[in-house]
């Protein structure tokens, strides 16, 4: 049995959040650079500006986007680990609170009805997955809401099948239009139930841009969806062009014989994501 003090989790969350807010992932930067080479006019201008923005963020030590997001934290925890110290959620929140203060990040979390800001960007959205062994790994995805607002859940019927899945994905991106800061990264959950399907879609966003599902039938769906999305012509920032999405990532899970849930979680072109193993 391994004992881990939750202070270490708090400190890891702090490091990850501080870094994530100020950097794009390597794969995101690569995908944006490639897209800028394909585009012309206002679309190219938008992508060049996004890449220039990343350089300025690094040089000036500023958050890449002012929407430093809602902190989504995935913790994979070996079941042979004993957590000591402050409660887990409090430890994660403490890391977020310190990072958003020290990084001069925007505090974007508020009560849904009164709209009163919590003042420190907490609570973080914490998802814990138990595995065997003594391993502990953390992934942090600061999620902006321009794109989160455009996400959708569809409860399809089994008869709608693969075509229904493709239509759901493409319609979510079409209806979102220029609002989610395209080119988007499209996270899709297929299967599970109402709640787990949405979580699958969010987990799909953790996969590196430009990679395909190891399941060949799912990879085919990803390629078909991406081709149809880029044929929409919405383009970077809605200025038309070839790049409406940087990629489509689909995660699946077994579902009920009566259903076919499909969740589409959109991610803007500012992909910020950090991982740490403790």
């Amino acid at each position: 049995m391994r004992t881990l003090n939750t202070q270490e989790i708090s400190d890891a969350v702090y490091r990850m959040a501080l870094k994530a807010g100020k950097t794009l992932t390597e794969d995101c930067r690569r995908a944006l650079t490639a897209a800028a080479e394909r585009e012309t006019g206002a679309a190219k201008y938008a992508l060049d500006t996004a890449l220039e923005n990343e350089r300025i963020a690094r040089r000036e030590n500023l958050p890449v986007c002012q929407d430093t997001g809602m902190a989504v934290v995935f913790l994979t925890l070996g079941q042979d680990v004993h957590l000591a110290g402050m409660p887990l959620q409090a430890a994660v929140d403490d890391g977020i609170r310190r990072a958003y203060r020290d990084g001069s990040f925007r505090k974007s979390i508020c009560d849904p009805l009164t709209r009163v800001n919590t003042g420190d960007n907490t609570p973080a959205q914490l998802h814990v997955e138990l595995t065997d062994g003594e391993g502990v790994s953390l992934t942090l995805l600061p999620k902006g809401f321009g794109s989160e607002n455009m996400s959708r859940l569809f409860m399809l019927t089994p008869a709608e099948g693969r075509e229904g899945i493709l239509n759901a994905i493409v319609s979510a991106v079409r209806e979102a239009g220029s609002r989610p800061c395209p080119p988007v990264y499209v996270g899709v959950g297929v299967g599970g139930c109402f709640d787990s399907c949405a979580l699958l879609a969010k987990k799909a966003l953790l996969r590196e841009v430009g990679t395909l599902s190891p399941r060949s039938d799912v990879a085919e769906l990803e390629k078909a969806a991406l081709a149809r999305i880029n044929a929409l012509g919405i383009g970077p920032q809605g200025f038309h062009g070839k790049t409406t999405a940087l990629g489509v990532s689909i995660e699946t899970a077994p579902t009920h014989i009566a259903g076919l849930p499909v969740a589409v979680n959109l991610q803007c072109h500012c992909i910020r994501c950090e991982k740490e193993i403790l």
Partner: protein, 172 residues
């Protein structure tokens, strides 16, 4: 790229065409959802707004706090569509332009045309670049709204795309 300095004359506004890239300098006011709700309440109570809307430019943005030594933190645009229910009313009070990101409604587009005002799209996600182009930032109203308060920004060479021009043309 065309350089523009605020305030813009009606002739300058009318000369802008959708799709054109410009670098804008001058004074703009930030406002998001919550600030707009308060503007509407003030108007309903026949009280003045915290800034003179005549000829003013609204920037749909909520900046990050300014780090030490900087005028402003990251400060890119937010999704303009959320302000569709307020924009026509604000435009009719005399705004010369709005800055945001993404499409706006037919009602907003009509109001822009009717008022001879322009909608500029800033590049979403480029918060560091825009924040760095803010040379001065002053709180104007609603400090309790934190980043959603109304701030007066002095900006230099904001890179923008004319999204809706005064003739009703659109970049989208």
């Amino acid at each position: 790229m065309k350089k523009l300095t605020l305030p813009l004359t009606p002739a300058q506004l009318h000369a802008l065409r959708a799709g054109e890239c410009v670098a804008l300098s001058g004074t703009v006011y930030t406002a998001r959802d919550c600030a707009h709700r308060r503007f509407m309440q003030l108007l309903e109570e026949k009280k003045p707004l915290p800034f003179d809307p005549k000829g003013a430019v609204l920037y749909y943005a909520g900046p990050c706090p300014a780090p030490e030594g900087k005028a402003c933190g990251s400060c890119g645009p937010t999704t303009s569509a959320r302000m569709n229910s307020f924009a026509p009313k604000m435009l009719r009070l005399g705004l010369s332009a709005i800055i945001g990101k993404g499409e706006m409604s037919a009602e907003t587009q009509n109001a822009l045309r009717e008022c001879g005002a322009v909608y500029f799209a800033a590049i979403g996600g480029a918060g560091a670049l825009y924040g760095n182009a803010v040379k001065n930032m002053q709180l104007v109203a609603f400090p309790d709204l934190l980043s959603e308060a109304v701030y007066r920004l002095e900006v230099v060479d904001f890179p923008l795309v004319v999204a809706y021009d005064t003739l009703g043309n659109s970049v989208y």
